[in-house]
């Protein structure tokens, strides 16, 4: 009896889903004379403006011996300019309840501004000042390096951090993706103020950047701000990064880290795909079914709901510009580490061997298309989203095409990509746990 009601309910939900979903973002996009790509979205619901500037100046562009340089440059932008000291910058922006600053990354770094509309002038003044005129004062740099090193030590308390760091190192080797964007104590000691200055002058150029302005501002106002504050930002020739190739592993690699913990933190995975891989959308559907779909996923159903072994378990493809990773992550009490790992491998094997069900496929498609508006719910999210769309060359029509990409995926394609991109024999397994209790096997056989 229950089943009938259940099916009736699904039918009625499916009908709803046919109704056209509209993500409609009215984006004004243009390339300025200096090469800066500008995107503007007007939203007048609140007197607030959010700006995101993505600059191709992530850790991909730094030498291995100076790992951490790209992050340092980004984090030092608001620590002193030709016109202002670090204290003046934080004092001015915090006084109006706004924020301005940058965060590092592998592919690109992001400079962000958040201000009330009435403080737009001040905001753009500060934003342009930190992007164009940073001076990287020696004493501020010293402090920043000291804190970065301390932060690296503090993170050793976090088993998730350790697992993720060791996993990336194992699969990417000496490629920049294989190391921490923050660098290490050793590499940070090799970085000088001159390194920061030359890195900044080498990569912080408008033709190497994307700017998204979202909020209570018209395109005319936004452009006027940019003309006023970014007029001296001149384009220049950018040297492409010289990167070594990334090679897929051909055997099981098991790494264990012994710590006095009650739980084992586990990452299992291998190389994935880059963001421009045409199979990316089929992979998102496949991964939703495997371990990306929260309670809808097989890993969650099996390992949390049926067996009670974990609080959280998930899988994802993390796509970057030049490659990416596939990871399954979970935490379980030390004693159940082996069981949980075996179940993960069983699920990976299963999705490679048997087609997913019609309902799994349609559930995944409904969620991925229907939940899209949540990605662009607030002005900050829209700004960050637009920078990524532009950086990875997805095209603004990607927003309109997305439902079609997802809805055209078939069961056969899901099976094909599972076979092609999941490797239950050749993977890296990292387990951070109390080793005596976890007793991780030396090898896992199918």
């Amino acid at each position: 009896m229950r089943k009938i009601i259940f099916i009736a309910l699904i039918l009625c939900v499916s009908l709803l889903i046919i109704s056209p979903s509209s993500f409609a973002l009215d984006v004004k996009r243009k390339m300025l004379e200096n090469g800066l790509t500008l995107m503007i979205v007007e939203r007048h619901n609140l007197p607030v403006v959010k700006v995101s500037v993505g600059i191709s100046a992530g850790s991909l562009y730094e030498p291995e011996t100076k790992a951490g340089l790209a992050d340092l440059v980004a984090n030092m932008l608001n620590e002193g300019t030709k016109n202002r000291t670090a204290q003046q910058i934080s004092g001015e922006i915090e006084f109006v309840g706004g924020s301005v600053g940058a965060s590092g990354g592998e592919d690109y770094i992001t400079v962000s501004l958040s201000v009330l509309k009435k403080d737009l002038n001040l905001g753009f003044d500060l934003l342009s000042d930190i992007i164009l005129n940073p001076v990287f004062p020696e004493d501020e740099l010293k402090k920043k390096i000291e804190r970065t090193k301390a932060g690296l030590i503090a993170q050793e308390e976090d088993p998730g951090f350790i697992a993720s760091r060791d996993f990336k190192k194992a699969i990417f080797g000496s490629h920049p993706y294989g190391r921490l964007a923050a660098g290490s104590a050793q590499t940070l000691d090799h970085i000088t103020r001159d390194d920061l200055i030359s890195f900044h002058s080498g990569y912080y150029a408008p033709n190497n950047a994307v700017m998204a302005v979202v909020g209570d501002v018209t395109p005319e106002e936004a452009e006027a701000m940019i003309n006023k504050y970014f007029a001296q930002w001149k384009n220049r020739k950018i040297a492409p990064p010289s990167l070594q190739s990334i090679v897929m592993q051909t055997e099981q690699k098991i790494i264990t880290v012994d710590k006095d913990l009650t739980q084992a933190t586990i990452i299992l995975g291998h190389l994935g795909v880059s963001r421009d891989n045409p199979d990316y959308y089929v992979l998102s559907v496949m991964n939703y079914i495997l371990g990306g779909g929260g309670f809808g996923s097989r890993l969650m159903q099996n390992i949390r709901e049926d067996k009670g072994l974990v609080y959280d378990i998930h899988s994802f493809f993390e796509p970057d510009k030049y490659s990416g990773s596939f990871q399954v992550g979970l935490q379980t009490k030390n004693e159940s580490a082996n069981t949980a790992i075996e179940e993960v491998l069983r699920e990976i094997e299963k999705i490679r061997k048997e087609p997913v069900s019609d309902m799994e496929l349609s559930d995944a498609q409904s969620f991925l298309t229907g939940s899209f508006p949540m990605k662009i719910e607030t002005s900050s999210r829209i700004a960050g989203f637009l920078v990524a769309v532009e950086y990875y060359g997805l095209g603004l029509d990607y927003i309109d095409n997305y439902p079609n990409f997802i809805n055209s995926v078939t069961k056969e394609e899901v099976l094909r990509v599972a076979n092609k991109y999941l490797h239950p024999d050749n993977y890296t397994l990292v387990v951070v746990a109390k080793e005596k209790e976890a007793a991780v096997k030396k090898r896992f056989d199918k």
């Binding site: 979903s21 915090e94 109006v96 958040s114 880290v257 959280d312 559930d363």
Partner: protein, 450 residues
């Protein structure tokens, strides 16, 4: 920085993707809130926001960890997990799947004072929320086997959030030392010892007592058709019978006479200190000045604690102040810090006290006060971009007695003077009223095959 402490109080069931919603922020504009009370006592609030691309449904129950008993801690949160296990009408474990299939997300959270459930959906699919939530208010299955399995899941959650997180262990110890009588002394997730012995029948009795229309309220927000949504809510929830009235709690904490100090020894890298002071909640006018005090001490890199401990003295990796003002009963104001490698945690602790000491000697400048107020107001405006947050803040004030209290908040903040800030620092941030927790990192030989 304030956010970090406060979020540890709120346990979300699944991934914690709504954590930021727990921060404190208030509205000074009540326009557009429709309120109605059904015959069975269920209150309903609707907020129309035509700019929102989504709708949110939240249902709040007066059923947080303060309603638990000694020996049965963690019940409220465990019940929150069980609420996703199904009803006879829809079957087992399908709640989240139905919502996801409709392109929505759902989650829930438990705090000391309350539990809440929510879904974010396209506005034309809110009827699903209403049907599912009405059904599970009274008709949960709660199979004994499911209960045992979910209890294991919660134990894993506890291991992850507390047992393997040194700073959270300090927080837990500080709370249980600061409060002797008040149920705020036990963690929302419960003690592991209690989780091992809690039974399905404990949970069932708690569910039957507290999950009733007159012990709950609903908020719907977003680009919704208010009239039809309210009609649907009346239809689905209206027939549920009123539960037994639960008398309001009257709990008082005995006076503290002297500092309390606790230590946690645990494998860790850097020592950490948390110093907590009992302070009133927002129902007391001193609350506004305490909020501004937290801003003066810790509102960014230009605020006193960052500038002194991190930038000038270079003794702390991170440090700050926080104030939790939206709890049902008076709770805590905190100072906290992590020492830089090689620096002494005593120096960090004393430097935090020195910053409060300076304010006791001379009131903060007008400029500092203005900055703290601007930050509070600007945060308030910016947070309105999320309808989820709009609903959240209304609910938190409603839990305190009346959602309209939120309208007085910004007004109260605007009135704070430098002297007020000095006065509350002198009154509350005092040695005899504090509970200090210190993390002592213990190192052991580890084998690393990497």
């Amino acid at each position: 920085m304030k956010k970090i402490i406060i979020t540890t109080l709120l346990l979300l069931s699944f991934y914690g993707n709504a954590h930021s919603a727990a921060e404190e922020l208030r509205d000074d504009n009540s326009a557009g809130v429709h309120e109605e009370v059904l015959q069975n006592g269920l209150k309903v609030f609707a907020i129309k926001d035509p700019n929102a691309p989504l709708a949110v449904f939240q249902i709040w129950y007066d059923a947080g960890s303060i309603n638990e008993q000694v020996g049965k801690t963690g019940l409220s949160h465990l019940l929150e997990h069980m609420m996703f296990k199904g009803t006879p009408k829809y079957g087992a474990k399908v709640f989240s799947k139905i919502i996801q299939r409709a392109g929505g997300v759902d989650n829930a959270g438990t705090s000391k004072d309350f539990v809440y459930y929510y879904q974010k959906l396209a506005p034309d699919r809110l009827h699903l929320s209403i049907e599912l939530e009405a059904d599970r208010m009274r008709n949960l299955i709660m199979e004994p086997e499911e209960f045992l399995s979910e209890r294991d899941v919660v134990m894993e959650e506890r291991r992850m959030r507390y047992d393997d997180d040194p700073q959270n262990l300090v927080y837990e110890e500080v709370l249980s030392a600061a409060f002797k009588n008040h149920p705020y002394r036990w963690p929302v997730i419960g003690w592991m010892e209690d989780l091992k012995t809690v039974t399905r029948d404990d949970l069932w009795a708690y569910y039957k007592t507290r999950y009733s229309p007159n012990n709950a309220f609903i908020i719907v927000a977003g680009n919704i058709d208010v009239v039809s949504i309210l009609e649907k809510i009346r239809k689905e929830f209206g027939s549920i019978t009123r539960g037994t009235e639960i008398p309001a709690m009257n709990i008082n904490e005995p006076e503290q006479r002297g500092e309390r100090r606790v230590y946690v020894k645990k494998e860790a890298e850097l020592p950490y200190v948390m110093s907590a002071y009992k302070t009133p909640n927002i129902l007391n006018d001193d609350s506004y000045a305490l909020d501004v005090l937290a801003g003066v001490l810790s509102g960014g890199k230009s605020a006193r604690i960052y500038r002194s401990l991190i930038d000038e003295q270079r003794i702390a990796l991170s440090a700050g102040a926080g104030y939790s003002n939206l709890d049902k009963f008076p709770f805590l104001f905190y100072l906290y810090g992590t020492a830089l490698p090689g620096k002494k945690i005593e120096d960090v602790e004393n430097a935090l006290y020195a910053e409060v000491g300076k304010i006791k000697e001379a009131p903060p400048t007008e400029l500092e006060i203005m900055k703290a107020k601007n930050q509070i107001e600007s945060d308030f405006i910016m947070n309105q971009d999320s309808i989820f947050y709009q609903a959240m803040i209304l609910a938190e004030f409603e839990m305190l007695g009346d959602w309209r209290l939120k309208d007085r908040y910004i007004e109260g903040i605007r009135k704070v003077s430098p002297e007020d800030v000095q006065r509350v620092a002198k009154k509350y941030i005092v040695e005899d009223q504090r509970t200090v927790g210190i993390l002592i990192p213990v190192k052991r030989e580890v084998k690393n095959e990497n």
